[in-house]
């Protein structure tokens, strides 16, 4: 009889193909959306952590201002650092190297081509600390750094946009009023977690940047690497104490700069991806709900017909539980079917999205089960409970149902 019930349910599914299709669709949409979005979100978060770890866990950054990156109250523009600040940081015993960094966005021009990009002024220590390698050409020479010569190292994207197939080395690009000789090309790192292009930059000696681009001597960021074996928290305390002293901050006054290690940076960045993941999850939850409402709607619209069908079956000798079993099997088969399609579609979309965003593919069993469970529950509840009500009526009442 169980097999017969299963066949009856299958027949009912095929007979009501439109209803079945819409129910399955509702489940597929809900399940696929949730799985795809959460998978991509989680992959992004993991990628951020991986990206930051690639920088090395021994990196400490010093930024003027408080809450600058956390988006807190900004207040007055923070007092920037100077080259002397950088040298003082580097002089601290736990610090291996410290690189001063100043950045801005400008248009770089070569021939008829132009491209807006990040212009970074720093020195060779930055390449060392941030682990940038050269594809071709060379880094800056000491003399070039000291004198602030107009030479630059460019990223792969800038090369592509300005030079196309031509060789950039030895050519001269124009940034603002300055002409700058290209001496090096970095190895491509590809897109980062947020889809931002990591190869989109021009790097020049910081003095050149001060004089020819920024028009001041402000250092925006000190990028320091800590010696192997030194304690990072202790090093950060040292940097803090040093900067408080240099910036004349009295006892009890708050810092007007921030010292971050990679852990904090990771936390901050994963916090941002967390918000993104949350947003995606919210959108997905809405899809799930919409799918659920769709299923509910289909089931409720068809309740009159189903009630009459139940009346007919009861009248020809079916027992209530046989009819109910049929409807339950019908609901379960549809839910399973829709759920499985949804899972595969969701994983497929997740895979597609992950590879497009260049993040690891991280399907999560708990979310798959949750999405599947919810949709299946909606399908079963709204498929089964109206049937149960109908099966409890007398056959003639079910038949007369309108």
């Amino acid at each position: 009889m169980l097999w017969e019930t299963f066949l009856l349910a299958l027949q009912a599914i095929l007979r009501n193909s439109m209803r079945s299709f819409l129910t399955v669709l509702g489940i597929v949409i809900g399940v696929a959306a949730v799985i795809a979005m959460v998978t991509v979100g989680q992959g992004s978060a993991d990628q951020v952590t991986a990206d930051v770890e690639k920088l090395g866990s021994n990196i400490v950054m010093v930024i003027p201002g408080q809450d600058a990156m956390r988006g807190g109250p900004s207040g007055l523009a923070p007092q920037p650092f100077s080259m002397k600040d950088n040298d003082a940081v580097e002089a601290l015993s736990p610090v291996a190297v410290a690189a001063p960094i100043s950045q801005g966005r400008e248009r770089a021009v070569f021939g008829n081509e132009n491209w807006r990009t990040d212009i970074t002024g720093t020195d060779n220590r930055y390449f060392e600390a941030a682990q940038w390698e050269l594809e071709r050409g060379r880094l800056f020479e000491d003399g070039e750094i000291k004198s602030g010569k107009a030479v630059c190292v460019i990223g792969e994207t800038v090369r592509d946009k300005l030079f196309g197939n031509a060789d950039p080395l030895g050519e001269t690009i124009r940034i603002k009023s300055m002409s700058c000789e290209v001496i090096g090309l970095t190895k491509s790192k590809g897109a980062s977690t947020f889809g931002s292009d990591q190869d989109d930059f021009v790097i020049m000696p910081i003095k050149t940047y001060f004089r020819r681009v920024a028009g001041n001597n402000d250092v925006g960021l000190i990028f320091a690497s800590i010696r192997d074996g030194a304690s990072i928290p202790d090093a950060m305390d040292d940097v803090s104490a040093l900067m408080r002293e240099r910036r004349l901050i009295g006892v009890g006054e708050e810092d007007d700069f921030e010292v971050m290690d990679m852990e904090q940076l990771t936390t901050m960045l994963t916090g941002i991806t967390g918000i993104l993941t949350g947003l995606l999850a919210a959108v997905a939850a809405v899809s799930l709900l919409v799918g659920g409402i769709g299923i509910m709607n289909i089931m409720l619209v068809s309740v009159t017909e189903r009630t009459r069908e139940i009346g007919i079956r009861l009248a020809v000798g079916a027992q209530a539980r046989q009819v109910l079993m049929q409807f339950l099997v019908e609901a379960i088969v549809l839910s399973l079917f829709g759920g499985l399609i949804g899972i595969f579609l969701g994983l497929g979309l997740g895979l597609l999205g992950s590879s497009y965003l260049n993040v690891p593919f991280q399907p999560q069993v708990s979310i798959i089960l949750l999405a599947f469970g919810f949709s299946a529950a909606v399908g079963v509840v709204f498929g089964y409970f109206p049937a149960r009500r109908a099966a409890r009526m007398s056959p003639i009442d079910s038949l007369r149902h309108e």
Binding site: E4, L8, E305, E309, G311, G317, Q319, S394, I396, L399
Partner: protein
Amino acid sequence: MADPTPLIALIGIWRTYGTGEATVHALAGIDLTIDRGEFVAIMGPSGSGKSTAMNIIGCLDAPTAGHYLFDGVEVAGLTRDQRALLRRHYLGFVFQGYNLLARTSALKNVELPLIYKGLPRAERIALAMEALEKVGLADRAHHDPSQLSGGQQQRVAIARALAGKPRVMLADEPTGNLDTKRSIEIMKVLERLNGEDGLTIVMVTHEEDMAQFSNRLIWMVDGKIARDEPTRKVA
């Protein structure tokens, strides 16, 4: 050798719809016994309670008051499942409004009661085809109700009631939508089943011609039995 217990016994049956001002007594104290092998026709004006009585006899509806004994067993004392078994194994019902499953072929509709009887598929199809042949619809076996005329749908409903070879056939205006020629063919099928297989038939009809095939005629008015007499056959 007659069995002393009547097959169907209605004792003081009332069926009341609604409450207060809107109360309708569809059946107002019906006493009726039907024995095995009888062919009973029920006639009466519209609204006189014929369908209501049929539904109660068919165990599809419960009386408000009174007793209904089927083969000596009080139906009200049975569980829902037992009443379902009674319908499954003893009763074949033809509804006034057909009540076929939509988007389901004539054959599958006729097969439906046989599924619940637990018959294997091959036997079901054979029996269903046989029943469809009896009502002259073998060539429409794979048509859905929506592709059939009213009369054809009615014949599918008759075939469904016949397919399970019930003991009692309850037919509510089985020929209401058929032309005279078809109606007479159907009546002849019923007459033969009644004569040869001893099928007990209770049939509601508005047509004197069809009532002619019965042995007993019950005339209902206002929820009561007004006359109950042997059918006067007109040659």
